[in-house]
């Protein structure tokens, strides 16, 4: 008993709000499954309604979103199974729609033009909203969707929502209303220019809508009881909706949202870049300085939290001695906590602190520090496994040996490999090696399969400290932190000073050439022959061979990279960014 309804949506489909909502009602099943195309601006919130609810769009915007929806529909032929009655109703409605819409169609077209508008202002607006209600809490995400009960259209929309969602309606209506009022107020005062202009040129029809709405809102504010009535009304209309279908929809919602968001390769976000913002990348040092000026809030609570963890130290020691190993998880840097643990409990025992977040850390270096510094073994090993075997045997033979391992960030980039974890696990399974480690990454537990877990023999402790990951992130090439290259610069100077004058000249030549070609995007380096020519002219070398000998020196210090071009010619390039290089030249010139 079901008809197949195929819909190639006609052009005058999306026009006035009233008809839109009507058709929206009918296509609710589609819409519910239909998740917002990820191309929809900044906020790729899951359900369509969420956008409406969360961001309290003006009705015109709603239209935009919807028109967008429909446009998408044009592209894909929608085939769905609906009841016979529905089909009949739909056909009737369709006819009506055509009749009604004929005149308003032009208005709809205008709406299309807004579609290209980018999202950033939306986010700013949202943030603005949060900000305005300072002190009070405001939902950043309204999970309960489709809750614009105060507007006529959304009250209908509500009927599509499930009954259980209705419970929270009242609250939400609250939340959305003050914003609208506020908006009306702030429209007079200084509103951030961008958004202001956005709203000013709305078309007449929508303005009317807004006014209507605002009237309604003020009423709502006056009389809350009406609201509840309102919602009960809508809930009665909700009965028509086949509850079963809805339920099914919501369960699959999340899954489908996921695939929707990941299927299309295009993601619509704003094109704004940091360059336009004039806020350049900060380097590590300035970042540090700036942050030191800011004192984090809630220090009393944080302290309390930490004291709570510090009380566990004795228990940890006990459990470590009884053959368990301890892993700490939770938000916030655990370095300080472990450092305190070390200072208070481990002063009289041999221990190794390992900074997993250190970019150069390897299992080999950990094992080396154990064999060389603790077991005082001078020999070398053929492989890491050999070394491990040797350590294991040493610990088995000598029962007086004891060792504490403190690993910060066991889940770091360098240690998370399967082999590293296996080796560390085997180390920690020794009865006299006690391991206490911290993890931060959300997927860290995936590193360990059953056998590794049994090697580690973990006891999990949650230590949420809320401390900033200052040190842990300082090594990372964070996207916003400019790699200032102070380290590179100092090492460059160091190497440079130890060179002969001729070699210095050669290198300087190369730097200058590279700086001159800074702007050239296709610059791949200075060809060896040209370079030789230049050096010869500057009386720096007298033969091909001497130049090559000099270059070897640079290459050894990683100051030079050679690349074969497509024509087989060798090109020389200094793998240091231009900023550092010009800094370097400046400094050298000053000294000279």
């Amino acid at each position: 008993m079901s008809g197949v309804q195929s819909r190639v949506s006609p052009s005058p489909w999306v026009t006035s709000r009233a008809t839109l909502v009507a058709s929206w009602l009918r296509t609710r099943a589609v819409l519910r499954e239909w998740t917002l195309p990820p191309t929809l601006k900044f906020s790729g919130l899951g359900r369509f309604g969420e956008v409406l609810g969360a961001q309290c769009l003006a009705p015109r915007e709603t239209l935009i979103v919807m028109s967008h929806l429909k446009q998408q529909k044009v592209k894909m032929l929608e085939v769905q199974f609906v009841g016979d009655d529905d089909v009949l109703n739909h056909i009737l409605d369709k006819e009506e729609e055509y009749l009604k819409n004929g005149c308003v169609a032009s208005g709809g077209n205008k709406v299309y033009s807004f579609q290209t508008r980018k999202k950033p202002e939306k986010m700013a607006e949202l943030a603005y909203e949060i900000a305005k209600t300072s002190g009070k809490s405001v939902p950043l995400i309204c999970k309960n969707t489709e809750k614009m009960a105060s507007t006529p259209q959304s009250s209908k929309k509500q009927s599509t929502s499930e009954k259980d969602q209705l419970k929270s309606d009242e609250k939400n209506e609250f939340l959305s209303t003050p914003y609208r009022l506020r908006k009306r107020l702030t429209a007079v005062s200084t509103f951030p220019s961008d958004t202001e202009s956005e709203y000013s040129d709305s078309n007449s029809e929508d303005d009317k809508g807004i006014k209507q709405e605002e009237e309604k809102i003020s009423e709502v504010l006056m009389d809350q009881k009406r609201l509840t009535k309102h919602s009960s009304l809508s809930s009665s209309s909700c009965k028509k909706v086949s509850a079963k279908k809805m339920k099914k929809d919501t369960t699959t919602d999340l899954v489908e949202e996921y695939f929707e968001a990941h299927s299309s390769s295009k993601v619509l976000t704003s094109d704004r870049t940091l360059q336009k913002l004039k806020r350049t990348k900060l380097d590590q040092q300035t970042l540090h300085n700036l942050l030191s000026k800011f004192s984090p809030p809630f220090s009393a609570e944080l302290k309390q939290l930490n004291e709570q963890y510090e009380r566990l130290f004795h228990k940890w020691m006990l459990q470590l001695h009884l053959g368990f190993n301890i892993v700490l998880y939770g938000l916030g840097s655990k370095k300080e906590l472990l450092e305190k643990f070390r200072a208070s409990m481990l002063q009289d025992s041999v221990h190794v602190v390992i900074n997993g977040f250190f970019p150069g850390i390897t299992v080999k270096s950990i094992l080396n520090s154990i064999t060389e510094e603790i077991l005082e073994h001078m020999g070398t090993f053929r492989s890491v496994l050999d070394q491990l075997d040797w350590i294991i045997n040493r610990f088995k033979d000598d029962s007086s040996l004891e060792l504490f391992l403190l690993i910060h960030n066991l889940d770091s980039q360098m240690l998370r490999g399967d082999k590293s974890q296996q080796i560390l696990g085997q180390l920690s399974s020794l009865p006299k090696i006690y391991l206490i480690a911290s993890i931060d990454h959300i997927n860290a537990p995936l590193m360990w399969d059953h056998s590794k877990q049994s090697l580690y023999n973990w006891l999990w402790y949650e230590t949420t400290t809320y401390r900033p990951y200052t040190e842990e992130t300082s090594y990372e090439n964070s996207l916003l932190v400019q790699q200032c290259g102070t380290l590179a610069l100092s090492s460059l100077i160091h190497v440079f000073r130890s060179l002969t004058p001729n070699a210095r000249g050669i290198f300087r030549l190369l730097i200058k050439y590279q700086l001159e070609n800074e702007e050239n995007p296709s610059y791949i380096g200075l060809s060896f022959q040209d370079f030789y020519q230049q050096c010869r002219e500057a009386f720096l070398v007298n033969s091909d061979l001497t130049l090559r000998a000099q270059l070897t020196e640079f290459r050894d210090h990683k100051l030079l990279r050679t690349k074969k071009g497509t024509d087989g010619v060798e090109y020389l390039l200094i793998p240091i960014d231009t900023g550092t290089l010009s800094d370097f030249l400046e400094k050298e010139d000053k000294e000279a």
Binding site: A124, F294, V352, E462, P468
Partner: protein, 715 residues
């Protein structure tokens, strides 16, 4: 800080002076670092002792369970290579010798437990059959070369171990030099040398089996995890070794976690070189049942788990790893936690010891006993004079406690017997209304009065319909339970059970006679369709009208009534007992927290609802919202949840700045000073890099100044 550097990731600390370690007793840590009182030391010792006992019991059980498997394996080993030992040259043998005798051990999915099994196996084989036992793991053998190298070094290594230091020194050196080019040929010549030498010397008294073994012990190669070996390596290795089979008596032992089919899947071609014998180990569930029976369903160990704690451990077992070792680990943690957190756990020991300790209880401890909820309940039931006495008079209290701890002990004795009997009855019922495994029944009994549960009545109904032979089997089982239990409390019940059994037996005999005569009668009658229908009708009427029970049915009802009475009398949940806090561990959540943690959820909670951790009123909020004064990272996280796959950093940072400025009560309309803006930007950068560290976002090159979200949904 001493442990941060830009050039180094490992920092070694040694105590300054090499004082000969004033070996800190572990017990020091037991009492929160405060000076060690006699009491807590005693408590710790009790804890350790108890744990050691339970552990050795568990190990014994493991050995016992393995023994069966190992015996079969040894039998198999002895059968294999018979011909080789006899040095027979007949044709049949020549053909057959291409097949490597292989034992496939199906050990189950609980990989973590396998190690222990293999360890036991290796030790046992070394002791009884052959010194040449090699165990290989897939990760040691990425290719055939490595495999052979490992194999040879282990075979020769163990040989050297045995002959140690006699005259093999130079050989040792030789060996290490040759390490790089091991081959099967090399191994076989080595083997010939060794066995010939041995044959003349006839050393090694350890190996006691048949004389042939002494001459040419087989080389047993254990492949611990066959599933993770690569096909090519295995295939090559098997083909090579089958070529050498007439020189080297190789036996393979394959450890299988999944199913035996895996051999065929892994080795489609080389399988013809194997002569496989399948050996199945005990399933881990049965292992667990046995373990529970030995450790918890007994009065031998005073320590018990309450329903929730036990459920947590069982759930971890069933839903996460099937690992008995992990279960034991959980038990260890439970014991430790119990003794650590419950000061009265000092009384959690053997009965005679408890009496002694009760007498030496201090005043404080008496006070804390009085404060035990179960004890308070007990006192309330007493007469007023006794109430006063037990609250004020220490000696009186101690006397009471002595009595109560004894009654607790007796309660347990009866409880377990009745529990096992009930389990014998209900475990075979259709659909298992009270659970199939004893652990399910036990949990139910721990939780509440079992006879009040919904499933109890239907179970009894079903019991009343049991056939005689089933019932008798069950009764036999029950008698067995009574016999094996040490307690003498339910002696009369045991007698009664035996009586029932005897009656059923006699019934059987008499029944047989009756049946015999009945059938004869019927055999003579001739029936047509009409009569048949008629007789059927008559029979139906007879059945419905004449509800007269047979003798057997009467007896059966009696049995069921008896078990019902027993259950109602003895299967109270333990929390009704006085002093149950002393022996029952109740911290289910601690177990879950430490054994089965959910770091991701913790992270999400911390980010989503900071009030959960920082109890500041300013942070309090309703659902799904966050106050704008929350820590930076929380705000950044919340904002990032709004986005789909890609996030524009500029927008994000502006949104962040707006929220944060508002929180700082500055007027957003007035242009904030450049410095404050800078600081906010810096805070944003930090929050973003922290989110990156936590794995919520990553930089992407898809679009300039964008980052990609790595999570989906609200979490």
């Amino acid at each position: 800080m001493a442990t941060s550097s830009v050039s180094k990731g490992c920092f070694v600390f040694k105590p300054d002076f090499k004082r000969k370690k004033i070996s800190f007793p572990i017990a020091d840590y037991f009492n929160e670092g405060e000076s060690l009182s006699e009491d807590s030391k005693l408590r710790f010792d009790t804890c350790q002792l108890l744990w050691q006992q339970m552990k050795s019991e568990a190990e014994e059980l493991q050995e016992e369970l393995n023994k069966n498997l190992f015996d079969k394996l040894i039998e198999f080993l002895e059968k294999s290579h018979l011909e080789f030992r006899k040095k027979s040259t007949n044709w049949n043998y020549q053909i057959k010798s291409r097949e490597i005798p292989t034992a496939a051990l199906v050990l189950g999915v609980n990989v973590t437990d396998h190690d222990l099994t293999f360890k036991g196996l290796t030790a046992m084989l070394r002791d009884t059959i052959t010194p040449y036992v090699v165990s290989l793991q897939a990760k040691e053998c990425p290719d055939v070369k490595h495999l052979l190298q490992k194999l040879a070094s282990q075979v020769m290594g163990c040989h050297i171990d045995m002959e140690s230091t006699e005259e093999e020194e130079e050989e040792c050196v030789q060996l290490s030099q040759k390490k790089m080019h091991y081959s099967m040929a090399f191994l076989s010549t080595w083997y010939r040398n060794v066995t010939q030498k041995k044959g003349s010397e006839s050393v090694n008294k350890k190996i006691t089996s048949s004389s042939q073994w002494k001459k040419s012990p087989p080389i047993v190669i254990i492949l611990k995890d066959i599933e993770s070996f690569s096909t090519k390596v295995l295939q090559d290795f098997i083909i090579i070794s089958s070529q050498y089979l007439h020189q080297l008596p190789i036996v393979l032992v394959l450890g299988i976690a999944t199913s035996p089919i895996i051999i065929h899947r892994l080795l489609p071609h080389a399988v013809s070189f194997l002569c496989i014998e399948l050996l199945q180990s005990l399933s881990c569930k049965e292992h667990l049942a046995k373990l529970l029976d030995k450790l918890l369903l007994t009065t031998r160990f005073p320590f018990k788990l309450n329903e929730k704690a036990l459920q947590v451990l069982i759930n971890i077992f069933l839903y996460h790893d099937f690992s008995v070792q992990n279960f034991i680990k959980g038990l260890q943690l439970a014991i430790l936690e119990h003794f650590y957190s419950q000061p009265l756990s000092i009384l959690c020991c053997d009965l005679p010891e408890v009496k002694r300790r009760i007498h030496s209880l201090s005043e404080d401890q008496c006070e804390s006993i009085r404060r035990l909820p179960s004890f308070m309940r007990y006192v309330e039931k007493q007469t007023p004079e006794k109430q006063v006495a037990s609250l004020t008079n220490e000696r009186f209290l101690k006397g009471r406690m002595e009595r109560k701890s004894l009654s607790l002990h007796i309660y347990h004795e009866n409880f377990f017997i009745v529990l096992k009997c009930l389990h014998a009855f209900t475990s075979s019922l259709p659909k298992y209304p009270l659970g199939r495994q004893i652990r399910e029944l036990y949990c139910a009994c721990l939780e509440k009065n079992i006879w009040e549960s919904q499933e109890y009545e239907p179970a009894l109904q079903l019991l009343r319909m049991l056939a005689k032979d089933e019932l008798m089997a069950i009764l036999h089982k029950c008698v067995e339970v009574f016999r094996s239990s040490p307690g003498k409390q339910l002696g009369s019940t045991a007698e009664k059970l035996k009586e029932f059994l005897a009656q059923f037996q006699s019934l059987e005999e008499s029944n047989e006679e009756e049946n015999g005569s009945g059938s004869q009668q019927k055999g003579l009658q001739k029936t047509d369709l009409y009569h048949l229908q008629k007789s059927l009708l008559e029979m139906k009427e007879l059945r419905s009208s004449n509800k007269k029970q047979t003798k057997f049915e009467v007896q059966r009802d009696k049995v069921v009534d008896m078990i019902d009475n027993l259950v109602r009398k003895y299967l109270f949940p333990p929390d009704t007992q006085t002093l149950y806090e002393v022996v029952y561990f109740t911290g289910a959540h601690t177990l879950r927290e430490h054994l089965n943690a959910a770091p991701r959820i913790a992270l999400h909670t911390a980010l989503n609802n900071p009030y959960h951790y920082l109890k500041n009123q300013a942070l309090k909020s309703e659902d799904d919202s966050i106050p704008n004064v929350a820590p930076d990272i929380c705000i950044a996280y919340k904002l990032h949840l709004e986005c789909s796959r890609l996030i524009n950093v500029v927008d994000w940072s502006e949104a962040f700045a707006t929220v944060v400025t508002a929180a700082e009560e500055t007027d957003p309309n007035s242009t904030a000073s450049e410095e404050i803006k800078e600081i906010i930007h810096a805070r944003f950068i930090r929050a973003v890099s922290e989110l990156e560290l936590l794995g919520f976002i990553k930089p992407t090159k898809q679009k300039t100044d964008h980052v990609a979200r790595l999570t989906w949904g609200g979490c």
